[in-house]
Symmetry: C2
């Protein structure tokens, strides 16, 4: 497991350009706030924890640029942070990380730029390093749920490409494989952006995990044939009652798992929990452009109406358990969640 | 409704090339048996009833070619028919039509080629004309199930592009619209081939039916939000107990409809029923090449394992009713089917 998505060295932020995968493994440098916003919006970087980490480093770089230009003020920094926060609304890790970054300078004077920079850098490094540890813990906790010979279904990409570490859903699979369990992973291609087809299959191959690609609409048929033992997905935001916002198609899998009596697990760090909101219905769902669906068919007909939500909400009663760095939250999730929060 | 997918005039068979839709509306002529096999295999023509009709005309053209070359024999004709039959295994309309074509010459001597040709042509025309009438009846029968203002979800293409007439699932929508019911159709893009994205959206626009394209994995989320009143799909083969083979993803929708208490209808002519087999588990499911999924992501990695079944099986207990030209088969479908067969 040598795959590292986010690199920060000598005040330079470099990330894998996930738009180019699996065709090219190429890094791009994010030199300013606009680069960071553009990378997040265009899905060069995606995955809730990874977005949080890149936003944190991005704000450090932005503060540094402002200071080098003698134009730094905490007020301006806060305004710019809000601009970054709004570029993807669903994953709460983005606002969580941004909040940590703006909070850490609260008690420091505007003029003490050296200390501000030091605090911002320390906080960004802390967010990144914590996520590496968190992924390890999620992986270890979740691996107990996988038996030798299991066939796992996953959706989207909740691996090292989506985090600072080994991933959440895929981290569990890597840990299980480290324990010499033989695992086969069925991967939903994950329309419309293809995080499964382009990223997860590639990442699993890098890590020598056996996998099979399917179109999203084939999952039910595999469950019907009893070819799936469990489902593990990541999350973009989890409300106080355990409802999960995750990549569009997740809710569908949860209903299908319920019907076929297959365990349905969500793997996520606590940075993805938003206990400020009571239920999933309050999570904002990002709507994306119609060309994301149409371009694959080379259709450029502006008259075609397209519905393209990037995420959906899975109610907690359809989730077998949420696997976190602090342990496994079992049913009833809405109640047990409080044993882990705070 | 002027869209006609299959044209037969002056012994010439011309069909819309559905590979080119929605970019180009172009017809291609099928001049011999190899053209017909290639058109069916490569999905230039698809849809269970349409395949049956094209196969019938194709066999007439093939017999005519053999006779013009002085090489016709009923034995050879039968062997060639088998080759045609094997090119797509799931839709029973193919073998049903081929069987009608070979049977109609049974009592005629090999040498009486004029009569053989006449019988073959009459049978092919009968198959085509019956299908036009059948679509009308299915449309009329099914339209009673649609209320003014309904939002309907459909999968794949079961319209005029899939039949000789106005279609099965879409025929119902056209008839309901003729009755001045306001209808909105959500269309699954239908990975991997995109019959929804490429064909159904185009066909609905030709017929001025309001529609919205979604990725297959978005259907559940719409059901959760109560934005779908009913689901109508076509069928490729229906077993004696009412199990339905249809485009991959159909079973998924049926389970989701069951969970959300949404009526799930199958529209199909009796030429799609195969009462020789007891249940869906005996229906052969065509597996298609991995490039059908991978090429959309420009992936040419031979090491990627892909699972690509073209169809799945929906057990009859998940189906609200089957809409046929003879009437609506309600639950219990496996029992009521016998009131319509024979």
């Amino acid at each position: 497991m040598n795959l590292k998505t986010i690199h920060f060295e000598n005040n330079t932020l470099r990330i894998i350009n996930q738009q180019l995968l699996p065709h090219k493994l190429e890094f791009c440098e994010l030199k300013n706030l606009d680069d960071v916003i553009s990378a997040i919006t265009s899905l060069i970087i995606r995955g809730a924890p990874a977005i949080g980490i890149v936003a944190a480093y991005g704000l450090f770089i932005h503060a540094r640029n402002l200071i080098l230009n003698n134009s730094f003020s905490k007020e301006l920094f806060l305004i710019d942070s809000k601009r970054l926060e709004s570029c993807r609304p669903t994953a709460v890790n983005l606002s969580w990380a941004i909040n940590m970054m703006t909070e850490c300078t609260r008690s420091i004077a505007d003029t003490d730029v050296e200390l501000i920079l030091e605090k911002l850098k320390d906080t960004a490094l802390f967010i990144h390093n914590s996520d590496i540890q968190t992924c390890e813990s999620i992986g270890n906790n979740g691996s107990a749920l996988i038996s030798d010979g299991d066939t796992v279904l996953t959706h989207c990409n909740a691996g090292s490409l989506a985090t600072g570490g080994i991933g959440t859903a895929l981290g569990i699979i890597y840990k299980a494989q480290d324990q010499n369990k033989k695992i086969h992973v069925f991967v939903d291609e994950t329309r419309p952006v293809g995080q499964g087809a382009r990223l997860t299959i590639w990442e699993l191959q890098q890590n020598k995990v056996q996998s099979t690609l399917i179109a999203d609409n084939m999952a039910a048929s595999l469950m019907q044939k009893k070819q799936i033992q469990l489902i593990i997905v990541g999350a973009d935001r989890i409300s106080k009652n355990g409802d999960v916002a995750n990549k569009i198609g997740t809710y569908s899998l949860a209903v299908l798992a319920d019907y076929h009596k297959i365990p349905f697990y969500v793997a996520a760090p606590f940075s993805t929990f938003d206990i400020q909101i009571d239920s999933g219905s309050q999570i904002p769902i990002e709507m994306r452009a119609s060309h994301e669906i149409l371009e694959f068919w080379n259709i450029r007909n502006a008259d075609i109406q397209v519905y393209n939500p990037a995420f959906d909400i899975t109610p907690s009663d359809l989730i077998t358990a949420i696997i976190t760095e602090r342990g496994i939250i079992n049913k009833p999730i809405s109640k047990n969640i409080f044993n882990y929060v705070n």
